[in-house]
């Protein structure tokens, strides 16, 4: 399969959106485009499994290599392994759901969808890039859409949040940039990830570059204490913006932490692993406890995201194959879950015009579909078996437990304890909003989900359940790729 299709489809959609004449056209073009992306993602999955079934065990499949800046040895080098395929699937799920829930946006519809699709384009490009420069290009391409989406269509203190987000992410990028140039010159003028992964980099340089790259990507994925853009950014963004930010953009950071920082600089990773574990354990617990204090549904999900994303980073810090597989599963699972969570919150807010849990009650009676989905995603978040959250977190814990020393065990136990706190805040939020009598009589007139919202929710719920009851296929995708990473860490 030609990977350029994955960039071509969103690019074409974006151009078509720009050229379209009215709002209806914009919406339908976007929808068709995102359906095409979903189809491409599934086609990629199928093609990938076919290749693997035929025993094609090369690390990257469907590689493409075009010269870009020849004199600087920068190339359009694309290729996918299991991790990329999983991330691309996740992206396409979130994109289609995001397009569907924004169906009724009235303000500057064309610009909204254009920016949304540009954001998706950046994500697809990022996940298939095997050249650091191109990867960085696609990472940065999302700065403008994120800023404008929050600033123009957001709510609350949107300008502040948009600024904070753009500047903090730019700070992360600055660190990545320095680390990237360091790698470039150490490896004798190459940005190519595959080349770099075969280069042996002196340990002292690894120890210098690893923090730059890990923290740089860490900012994108809410590494404690650089997570502060998350609550503000997510809560101010429009629904689809939050979904994209939490569902896709944060995963770019996690992917970078693993693929770039840990994979290319294994000695550095070993050196700093304990610090990563401490920080992510703090993030998990702090995020959970901070969520307890929130009354705004979006803030609840934003802080719980900090906590959940902590599991991914914890898994990476544990440096075992199972833990890394679990970390990747958590990224996929959290991406779907949090996108769904924000979608549901958006639907509730569109109807009740409030996001405060204490101003709602008994919504189950008026909108059974929305609240049922809310239930499902809540249960997924607290790790109910049968849904994706359980599978991912369980794998992380199992992998962490493989480290037999006290430090790793204590960190694992501490992280695991957060699940109890998660249960408290999730059940309380659901109880306050969905259960009990209807406190506000005006809520009696509210309507349940429309077709577009139902479709968006069903797509994401399907993803969550598919991972929850049949995690094998995801595991088959991720585990061999994680093994490659472990091989380099183990120095094989």
């Amino acid at each position: 399969m030609n990977l350029l299709l994955l960039i071509g489809a969103p690019l074409l959609t974006a151009v078509a959106v720009l050229l379209s004449r009215n709002k209806a056209q914009v919406k339908w073009i976007s929808l068709v485009g995102s359906v095409a992306q979903l189809a491409l993602a599934f086609a990629l999955l199928y093609a990938f499994r076919q290749e693997r079934a035929q025993n094609n065990m090369s690390q990257m499949l469907f590689e493409l290599n075009y010269k870009l800046f020849d004199s600087l040895n920068i190339n359009f080098h694309f290729g996918v392994d299991g991790i990329s395929v999983a991330m691309i699937l996740l992206t396409s799920f979130v994109v289609i759901a995001g397009v569907l829930v924004s169906w009724n946006i009235e303000k500057m519809t064309k610009e909204f969808y254009f920016l949304l699709i540009l954001l998706a384009l950046g994500a697809y490009g990022f996940f298939i890039s095997l050249d650091l420069f191109i990867l960085f290009f696609f990472l940065e391409i999302s700065v403008i859409p994120k800023y404008l989406l929050i600033g123009i269509w957001g709510s609350g203190k949107k300008e502040y949040s948009a600024n904070k987000l753009a500047l903090m992410l730019m700070g992360g990028s600055a660190l990545i940039l320095v680390g990237m140039l360091g790698l470039y010159f150490t490896a004798g003028h190459s940005f190519d990830i595959m080349t770099l992964s075969k280069t042996s980099i002196p340990a002292n340089i690894q120890n210098l570059l690893f923090p730059l790259l890990f923290v740089g990507f860490g900012v994108f994925t809410a590494l404690f204490p650089l997570h502060t853009w998350v609550p503000d950014g997510h809560s101010s963004a429009p629904t689809a913006g939050s979904m994209f930010l939490a569902g896709i953009s944060m995963k770019l950071g996690g992917y970078g932490c693993l693929r770039i920082a840990t994979y290319l600089l294994p000695e550095g990773a070993k050196e700093y692993a304990n610090i990563i574990i401490i920080l992510s354990a703090i993030a998990i617990l702090y995020g959970a406890f901070a969520t307890m204090m929130q009354k705004d549904l979006k803030y609840i999900n934003a802080y719980s995201s900090v906590s959940h994303v902590g599991f991914s980073l914890l898994g990476i810090g544990m440096l075992t194959q199972t833990a890394i597989t679990g970390a990747l599963m958590q990224m996929v699972s959290h991406g779907l879950m949090t996108a769904l969570f924000f979608a549901v919150i958006g639907m509730i807010y569109d109807r009740t015009h409030t996001r405060m849990t204490n101003e709602m009650g008994g919504l189950m009676k008026v909108m059974p579909f929305i609240t049922t989905v809310f239930f499902i995603v809540g249960l997924c978040s607290l790790g109910l078996p049968g849904l994706s959250g359980f599978v991912a977190e369980m794998t992380v814990f199992m992998g962490s437990w493989e480290n037999s020393d006290a430090f790793h065990r204590i960190a694992t136990i501490a992280a695991a304890m957060s699940i109890v706190v998660t249960a408290v805040y999730i059940l309380r939020a659901i109880g306050q909003t969905a259960m009990g009598p209807i406190t506000n009589t005006s809520h009696l007139q509210l309507k349940d989900a429309a077709w577009n919202e139902k479709l968006a929710a069903i797509i994401l719920v399907a993803g969550i359940i598919a991972i929850g009851i049949a995690p094998g296929w995801l595991n088959d995708l991720l585990r061999p790729a994680a093994e490659e990473i472990m091989n380099r860490i183990a120095g094989k």
Partner: protein, 468 residues
């Protein structure tokens, strides 16, 4: 004779245009509209002519030197002048002395051409003066505005001062080396303290022209006072040309003293980036704002120059090319708005997107390019400058530069926020954009989007500079 014609063809074309304008002026004269169209066509011809018959060689006993890279640099400047003539058409049509304006501008351009091509301290000095004095006269072109004369006065005084310093440096250099030819000085340099002093004086003169901190103080006032056509000329064309010759002087003449100038360059680059950025944070007037932002951009250019090899040359030429498009687009939009509504404050740009979406998108694109955000070309330009600067493995230096990109993003976003997000009861009215301005803005927009993605532009510059 034939060699004279081909090697000096850029200079000759510009001279011919100047004389043509002179004849038109002293003859019957022309209406402003038709004269402007004529000048635009001539400048376009000048730009296109720059692509042909480029060869390497020297003239006048090694005083004048040119090669394809230098021809390319001249062409960037020609393109810039052509774009300015389009962008500021509305203002130009209203000036009383259009012919004189272009005679001055083209004289300055001629000076820059000679300066880039100079291979001798004497001709370098003469050309530098030719490139400066007409600009001071141009800065005074808003005859009824006091600020305009004030700006011109400041400019002429500070450039006279820097010329004095330059001459002093040149005399010291001549005293110790016994030659004023670029090719011969390098062999005579031994790093003695007098030579270092001479170098410091020369460097100071360059720092004045490039507005490197701490020699930047004239910049903001002059930029604010001058008409926007002149401001954009100063900030793009002037800066670009001085950056080009600065590289030649450092790499060719002072190569033996590279340890000395590397340290100076690094310190001044950091100071320029930081101070330029910090001052830009608080500016209200869009011209002052762009003035400080251009100071910060020069800091980044210095990062690229510090690499001391062909990678640095390539990165700087490439960056200046992108900078021409980005900065001229920004100034162009500012010029249109100022011309139609008289508004020059960033706060007055609030709600601009509602009334003028085209202008807002172009300005936003230009600012993102200046900030170095992809997919705009500025991203590539900045990144290659940093890559060039990183070749010496000075990680902290690159880190400081990268962190400065965050500060600069903050203030560029301020303008974007004003245009797209902030509400305003009294926004700039709907502006009817004249065709030539629209054309120029579209060219700039296309340049900003495409120059980065079309990688052969960079590779072409690389081939040109690698051959040196």
């Amino acid at each position: 004779m034939n060699e004279f014609l081909t090697l000096m063809k850029s200079e000759l074309v510009v001279t011919a245009i100047i004389f043509l304008l002179l004849f038109i002026k002293i003859g019957k004269g022309m209406k402003n509209d038709s004269l402007l169209s004529l000048v635009q066509v001539l400048l376009l011809v000048n730009f296109i002519a720059g692509f042909f018959l480029n060869s390497t060689g020297n003239l006048f006993g090694d005083m004048f030197y040119t090669n394809p890279l230098i021809a390319f640099q001249k062409n960037i400047l020609s393109l810039g002048v052509y774009l300015i003539s389009l962008l500021c058409a509305d203002w130009l049509k209203k000036t009383q002395h259009l012919a004189e304006f272009f005679m001055l501008m083209l004289s300055a351009l001629l000076g820059m051409f000679l300066m880039i091509s100079s291979n001798n301290l004497l001709i370098f000095y003469l050309a530098l003066e030719l490139a400066t004095i007409p600009v001071a006269a141009m800065a005074n072109f808003d005859l009824d505005k006091k600020r305009s004369s004030e700006g011109a006065m400041k400019m002429i005084l500070s450039s006279a001062f820097s010329s004095g310093i330059l001459l002093f440096g040149i005399s010291l250099l001549y005293g110790t080396t016994g030659t004023i030819s670029f090719s011969e000085i390098a062999a005579q340099l031994d790093g003695s303290s007098v030579q270092i002093l001479a170098f410091v004086f020369l460097f100071t003169a360059f720092a004045f022209k490039l507005s490197i901190v701490p020699f930047h103080l004239w910049t903001a006032d002059v930029y604010e006072g001058s008409p926007i056509a002149v401001t954009s000329f100063l900030s793009v064309i002037s800066k670009g040309s001085v950056a080009f010759i600065f590289i030649t002087v450092l790499y060719k003449v002072f190569q033996p003293m590279q340890d000395v100038w590397y340290t100076m360059l690094v310190i001044l680059a950091v100071a320029t980036m930081v101070i330029g950025n910090l001052f830009a944070l608080r500016q209200q007037n869009i011209k002052r704002f762009l003035a400080f932002s251009s100071i910060a951009q020069v800091g980044f250019i210095l990062v690229g120059i510090s690499s001391n090899d062909y990678m640095g040359i390539t990165a700087v030429v490439y960056f200046v090319l992108i900078y021409v498009f980005s900065n001229l687009a920004a100034f162009g939009v500012a010029s249109v708005i100022s011309e139609h509504s008289g508004k020059e404050n960033i706060d007055e740009y609030k709600g601009l997107y509602k009334t003028n979406p085209f202008l807002s998108w172009i300005l936003a694109l230009a600012l993102f390019s200046l900030a170095g955000i992809p997919p705009t070309a500025g991203f590539f330009g900045k990144l290659f400058l940093l890559t060039a600067g990183g070749a010496k493995a000075a990680y902290w230096f690159i880190t400081v530069a990268a962190l400065n990109m965050i500060i600069s993003l903050y203030y560029y976003l301020r303008v974007v926020r004003a245009m797209f997000m902030d509400k305003n009861d009294n926004p700039v009215g709907k502006i009817k954009i004249s065709p030539s301005v629209k054309l120029a803005l579209l060219i700039c927009g296309a340049g900003i989007v495409l120059i980065g993605l079309l990688s052969w532009v960079y590779d072409h510059i690389h081939t040109l500079s690698f051959k040196l």
